[in-house]
Structure formats: structure tokens, C-alpha cells
């Protein structure tokens, strides 16, 4: 950290919050709130005289509230930059600090928060993680029993720079504990709180145990665990060493801790799984290895940065395997535990990787973005044809990437701002916008190919790229069986699922159509799903009016984690088709066809559509001829 601060091209801003992020890759405008320290950064030399004279003491958060700090303070002794801070919530305005500061005149009570705007090329988010508060787990008695502590408290108590100078004492009587229990997975791997594994706690508790044991060979340490997870290099060897040192490992998740009211000793009640017997052991002190959880303001940050969150609340990466440090937004990267619990080596690795990804942007003259952006045909826009831009596209765009300058000038897409959801394309009543790589013509051609053969048996599934497509992927990789009649169509967002596509699918004789996308809050394109959902509701009502058999059109929001749901929904749709009489189904398709054709009347005028239709027709007939010929 000191190194970073000394590097002239690194600007460290502490006590500063990100208020707003605007713009796009290479051209972000970031608004920062530099919170008032009430100490002038350029004058403070970090001597600490203000803290010495300050009469106010409040709990020290850095020391897990095990020690006091003054109202004039630095968060920790290694703070970088070393600038003091006056905590006005605690300050009693005695102004002794001003006196102590003397001629430096670094203290300024009139200072206020300052909003600063900076031009930023790339953003690396490294906001870290927070800790689960075990006091909600009544069975462990944390916050009721003085000698039950958390791993972070243990960290401070066992640290030579900590409040006890590394002398491990127990809170109730300040004696050195002789018998210690560590309980792993407190609040993690627990569906009631956090279902996921916190990744580093096994090693963390072994580390603490080894440290303690090395310093005090006579202490007796037991680690209660469900599974010990030591997958990285050297970890298993470390685990071996802990066993050699005589640290006890008991497999069994304790169900309860009770306390002797007089001695404040603790009794850990668990099953020893290996023995299959319930055991109750007495300890002087118990350490709870609490779960790593997202920062309390992670939700807020996610909306400021406009990046999505995975289940569990961590920031969601672009791709879990291939692009784990990229956010889905170009130019924003993740480092460390903000993206998921990580130990130090992984955090360092990800940090370095994110830095190198970011430097690619900073060192480029030009930056290539995803090509799936929206493009306007100015000659088709209502501004040209009717002299009035309707502005529906601009309203639909979640990113404000479409400019309508005046009613006479066709809409204009700011390519660098466009994220390629396709909402404008599907919404445009004039079919005057298209999305590169997801043009109507391309999508239609795919649909025709998918529905070439026995369309009435097929279920055409529109899936959004970020959620439902992932869900279908997961259904596959998790081996959830679902109907082989499913034909998947990928578009970037449910907002791109044009009503015309659905009409066309039924016109082509599709048995059923699934309209699927992210859950409302999970949309990768902020509000794209809402646009898609509204449209889906309209379609649903319309098909109801047309008396289409219930279940032939289905709208489902399926996240990337819901492979089981994807499979279930498709199987249910298959059942609907199975339960229908084949002739009835054909009759229904024929009955609805004229209506669909009517609705698609304007469609062939869209550039490329008729050509694509002609081409795919040839393709389809070729497929069918090939099929008919006996091998």
C-alpha cells in the first residue's frame, strides 16, 4: 500500500465514495464524494498529536471494537495516506486538537464533503467482502456468551499489533484460555443464511490454530468442521502440519453451545460423525469462523456501477470460467472478494489480471466493443417518412444511448453507449432499427431452419443470452433431462423478442413457443426485461382472445442458476402438446394462420427480411428433399 501511494501515477483517495458512474469504456465520468476529514490532507504530517490530546474515546472498529480509539484518529496504524480524521459524531468540540496541532493548522472544522468529477478510462472494483454476524444464530450464543468470539476478533486478539499485543485472553476474566474450539462454516454452507462455501475459512482456521499452537504449545485446540477444503497448492501439506502439531479435528457441526454461568466456560455440543456419538466438550473459549458475505452496500454499488449481482449478492462476472475478472460492462473489472469469496493468492491473481485487462484499455488508441449494437435506418425512421420522430426507441433504451435531437431528424444511436439489448429494435413500430448480428432477417432464417421439419411437434424457445440461455446451458451440464423437441433461439435480451418473431413462429406452424428471460431484478440490461415482460403480457392476452390452447405460449423468467426450472418448464410444455390431439393441434394452427399473416403484413418490407426468407425457404426445402430420399 505504501508503495502504491508513492508511485506517482497512482492516486490513492481514501475516505471517498463513488457517487455516480456515467459514460462508457474509455470515457467514464465518475463522481466521487470526498468525505470531510476535517483535517487538511496537505498539511497533516500524521504526527498524531491531535489524537494524544483528544479526550473522547469510542470503540475502535478496526480492532473489532475490542479497543478504544479517539475522536481524532487514523483507522489503523498502517493507514495510507497517514492523515488523521476527526470523527464529528463523537467529537465534543473541545478544540484541544487544534491547540495541539499548533502552527501546522491542519485541522479545519469547517470542511465539508466535496464532490469531484474525474475522467476515467477503466474501473477496477475491489470492494472486498464483509462478515456474517453470528449473533443471529442463537444456538452459538455469540454476543450472549462473552467467551464466544468471531474469527475477526480472534485475529485482533492474536495479533501482536492488536489490543492485547498478541496475548490471547478470554473476554470474561482476561485469563489465557487453555482449551479452544474453532467452529467452521458458521453461517456459510447453510441454506438458512448463506448457502455457499466461503472458500478460505478452512485454511484460515487452520492458520489461526497453528499460530496459536506454535506460540502456546500447551493449549488444546479442536476444530469442528463439516468438510476440510484444502484444494490449493501447499494447503493440504499445511493441514497435515496442523495435525502433526496435535490440533484436533472433529468432524461434526455443533448444534449448540451452552455456558456455565459461573466460570463462563463453554460446552460445545456436537456429534462426532466418525464415532456416530453425541459429544459435549468443555472449552475456555470458542471461535466462530463466520461466513464471508457481500459488503452491506453491495446492492447500492451494483446500481451505481450498473453491474449485476449473482445469486448471493456478489458482483456478477461476464463469464464464470472464461472472463472471471470482467464485468459485463466494458471497461469495468473486478478484483478480489467483491466478485465472490477468495483467499489472498486468488485475490492477488485476480487483481493483477484485472489491472492488465484495464491497462489494455488505457493503452489503446481505439477500443473494440461487442458488435451487437443497434443501428438506425434513417430513411425508415418516422422522422423521415412522416416528419415526426416518435421517440419510442429512445424511451425503450435502458442506457439513454439513443438521441432524438428534433422531430425532423432521425433517431441516432451512440454506439459506444449501446449495450446491444435490442429493446429499441423490437419496439420500433416502423422497423427502422436493427441490431447487428441479431437482425430480423438472421433470426427469421434461424427460426425457419429450426421449424423446417414437423414444426407442430417443436417447441421454439426464445431465451435471453444472460439468464435463460445460461439456464438451458446449466440444464444441459447438470444433466436435467428435457424434451428433445425443444429448439432454442438465443437473443441478447427478452426485450429483443419481437412480437413479429412470435407471430412468424406460429405462422410457420410451431407447436409451442417459450418466451423466457431473466427475473425482473436480474436483467443484465437494467430494465430490458421489463420491456420484454410488458410485451409478453400483451401477447399472452392476445393469444387468449384468439383462443389458442392454454400452454402453447408460455412466458417464464428463468435465471442462469435455474437449470432445473428450464427443464421442468419445457417438459410441462411438452406435456401440453402430448395431451393435445394431433389433428386438433393442426386445425388450430391453420385456424390462427391467417391472423398471423395479417399481423406480419409489413414484415417483408424490413430490409433483408424477404431475401432471408427466400434463402431460408430454399434451405428448408433442400433439407426436406434430402430427408425424403432414402439413404
Amino acid at each position: 500500500m505504501v508503495d502504491a501511494a508513492r508511485q506517482p501515477r497512482i492516486d490513492v483517495r481514501t475516505y471517498t465514495e463513488v457517487e455516480k458512474v456515467e459514460g462508457f469504456v474509455g470515457n467514464f465520468k465518475v463522481t466521487l464524494r470526498e468525505k470531510a476529514k476535517h483535517v487538511l490532507a496537505d498539511r497533516c504530517n500524521g504526527c498524531g498529536d491531535c489524537a494524544k490530546v483528544c479526550p473522547v474515546e469510542v470503540p475502535n472498529y478496526f480492532e473489532m471494537n475490542l479497543a478504544p480509539r479517539k475522536a481524532a484518529y487514523v483507522p489503523m496504524s498502517q493507514s495510507v495516506p497517514l492523515i488523521y480524521n476527526i470523527d464529528l459524531d463523537a467529537c465534543i468540540h473541545c478544540y484541544k486538537c487544534v491547540e495541539a496541532c499548533g502552527p501546522l493548522e491542519a485541522i479545519d472544522f469547517s470542511q465539508e464533503d466535496k464532490l469531484v468529477e474525474e475522467d476515467i478510462g477503466a474501473i477496477i472494483v475491489a470492494t472486498g467482502f464483509s462478515h456474517f454476524d453470528p449473533s443471529v444464530m442463537e444456538e452459538y450464543g455469540y454476543s450472549r456468551y462473552p467467551n464466544v468470539i468471531t474469527s475477526m476478533e480472534m485475529e485482533r486478539l492474536n495479533n501482536s499489533a492488536g489490543p492485547t499485543a498478541g496475548n490471547l485472553i478470554r473476554p470474561s476474566d482476561h485469563k489465557n484460555p487453555k482449551r479452544l474450539a474453532f467452529i467452521n462454516c458458521v453461517g456459510s454452507r447453510d441454506k438458512r443464511y448463506n448457502p455457499s462455501c466461503s472458500n478460505f475459512c478452512c485454511m484460515y482456521s487452520i492458520k489461526n490454530a497453528v499460530l496459536l499452537k506454535q506460540m502456546n504449545p500447551d493449549v488444546d485446540i479442536t476444530i469442528y468442521y463439516m468438510d476440510i477444503r484444502t484444494p490449493s497448492k501447499g494447503y493440504e501439506e499445511f493441514y497435515d502440519r496442523a495435525r502433526e502439531l496435535g490440533i484436533h479435528f472433529t468432524q461434526g457441526r455443533p448444534s449448540m453451545i451452552t455456558e456455565d454461568k459461573e466460570t463462563h466456560n463453554l460446552f460445545v455440543h456436537s456429534e462426532d460423525i466418525t464415532l456416530g456419538k453425541v459429544i459435549e466438550e468443555e472449552y475456555d473459549m470458542v471461535m466462530l469462523n463466520q461466513a464471508a458475505i457481500p459488503q452491506p452496500d453491495q446492492d447500492h454499488m451494483s446500481s451505481v456501477l450498473n453491474v449485476a449481482q449473482s445469486p448471493g449478492g456478489w458482483f456478477m462476472e461476464y463469464h464464470p470460467k472464461l472472463r472471471p475478472m470482467d464485468s459485463p460492462t466494458d471497461g469495468i473489472f473486478f478484483a478480489g472478494a467483491c466478485q465472490g469469496p477468495k483467499d489472498i493468492p486468488s485475490s492477488v491473481a485476480q487483481g493483477s489480471a484485472a489491472a492488465s485487462r484495464a491497462s489494455r484499455i488505457l493503452n489503446s488508441e481505439k477500443w473494440e466493443i461487442e458488435p451487437t449494437v443497434a443501428v438506425v435506418w434513417p430513411e425508415r425512421c418516422s422522422a423521415t417518412t412522416r416528419g415526426r420522430a416518435c421517440g419510442i426507441c429512445a424511451k425503450a433504451c435502458p442506457y439513454g444511448a439513443i438521441n432524438i435531437f428534433s422531430p425532423e431528424i432521425p433517431a441516432e444511436v451512440v454506439t459506444a453507449k449501446c449495450h446491444g439489448c435490442g429493446a429499441c429494435v423490437a419496439e420500433c413500430p416502423e422497423d427502422a432499427i436493427t441490431q447487428l448480428h441479431y437482425t430480423d432477417a438472421q433470426i427469421l432464417a434461424q427460426m425457419r431452419a429450426l421449424l423446417a421439419d414437423k414444426p407442430e411437434e417443436k417447441i421454439l424457445a426464445f431465451r435471453c443470452h444472460w439468464c435463460s440461455y445460461g439456464g438451458a446451458d446449466l440444464a444441459g451440464t447438470s444433466h436435467f433431462e428435457y424434451t428433445a423437441n425443444e429448439r432454442g433461439m438465443r437473443v441478447m435480451c427478452s426485450a429483443r423478442m419481437d412480437t413479429d418473431f412470435i407471430y412468424e413462429a406460429y405462422r410457420l406452424g410451431a407447436g409451442a413457443v417459450l418466451y423466457s428471460g431473466c427475473h425482473p431484478q436480474d436483467c443484465h440490461y437494467i430494465t430490458g426485461q421489463l420491456i420484454g415482460a410488458k410485451r409478453a403480457e400483451r401477447l399472452k392476452k392476445m393469444f387468449e382472445r384468439m383462443e389458442m390452447t392454454d400452454g402453447r405460449f408460455r412466458v417464464e423468467w428463468i435465471s442462469a442458476a435455474e437449470g432445473d426450472k428450464y427443464a421442468r418448464v419445457l417438459n410441462e410444455m411438452q406435456t401440453v402438446l402430448d395431451n393435445m390431439d394431433k389433428d386438433e393441434l393442426r386445425a388450430e394452427i391453420e385456424r390462427l394462420k391467417p391472423d398471423m399473416e395479417k399481423r406480419l403484413k409489413k414484415f417483408p418490407n424490413v430490409p433483408g427480411v424477404s431475401e432471408s426468407m427466400a434463402y431460408s425457404d430454399t434451405l428448408v426445402s433442400a433439407i426436406n428433399t434430402q430427408k425424403k430420399e432414402p439413404a
Partner: protein, 146 residues
Amino acid sequence: METKPKIALFQCQWCLYSEPDQYWVDHNLPPSIRLMKVSCTGRINTLHILNAIQGGADGVMISGCRPEKCHFKEGNLSALRQHEEFLNLLDYIGYERDRVRFVWLDLQDRGRIQQELADFENKLQELSTANTLATRINAPEGEVHV
């Protein structure tokens, strides 16, 4: 020598979670306290309580699990209304209802049973003995009277 009040302790066999507590109740109760283990406080009949009182016990203590933690679902609640009303009735006819005490022990109440018994003993010593119900005459040796 001061005589200690006689306490009939009806204990639900599940309510003492910690082994030392159960051991103490099983083996180290003073002679003035008698343990009557039951499978659930819901199993205690008002007749049991009445018999303890009429047998000459100075107090009856019933220790059981908290209702939501009852071993038999919420079974101990089913008899609770009876016991409550029985105490109301005893109070109505002038018997000290404080001589019957319910204690609900939680899983984490290690050592509480000892405290509660000591506390109850003190309380019984404070109470006057004027209104105690008529006691049963002791059965002749050998005759079935129970």
C-alpha cells in the same frame, strides 16, 4: 435442625439438555426432593399433583421443555390448560397456588434446574402452612394402597 420443605419434582425426561444437570437430578437430589420422571409434562395428570400435595409434599415442581421445543410436538401444551385451571381452582378454595410451580427449561439453560429448586425451596419456606389440604392417611404396611 431446620427441616427442609418436601418437594415433589416432576421432570420431563427430555427437558435437561446437559448431561451433568440430568446426572445431578438423577443421583444427587437431597432427600427432601423426590424425582418423578415422566415422558412429557403433558403426561402429568392433575391427580398426580393432588396426590403429591395430599401426600404431604410442601411443594410440587414440574420441569419441562419450552412448549415449542416439546419432544412430542407441542404436546406439553395440551395438558397445560388443565394444569393452569387446576391451579386456579386450588387458589379459589384457598390453597396456596405458589406451592405448585412450573419451570420451562430451554435447551441452553445449563444449571438452571439447581437454581430453580433452591429458589422454590426458599419460597416454600416463606409460605404459611395453614391452608394445606388434608393429607392422606398412610397406608398400612403391605396393603395395596397405591
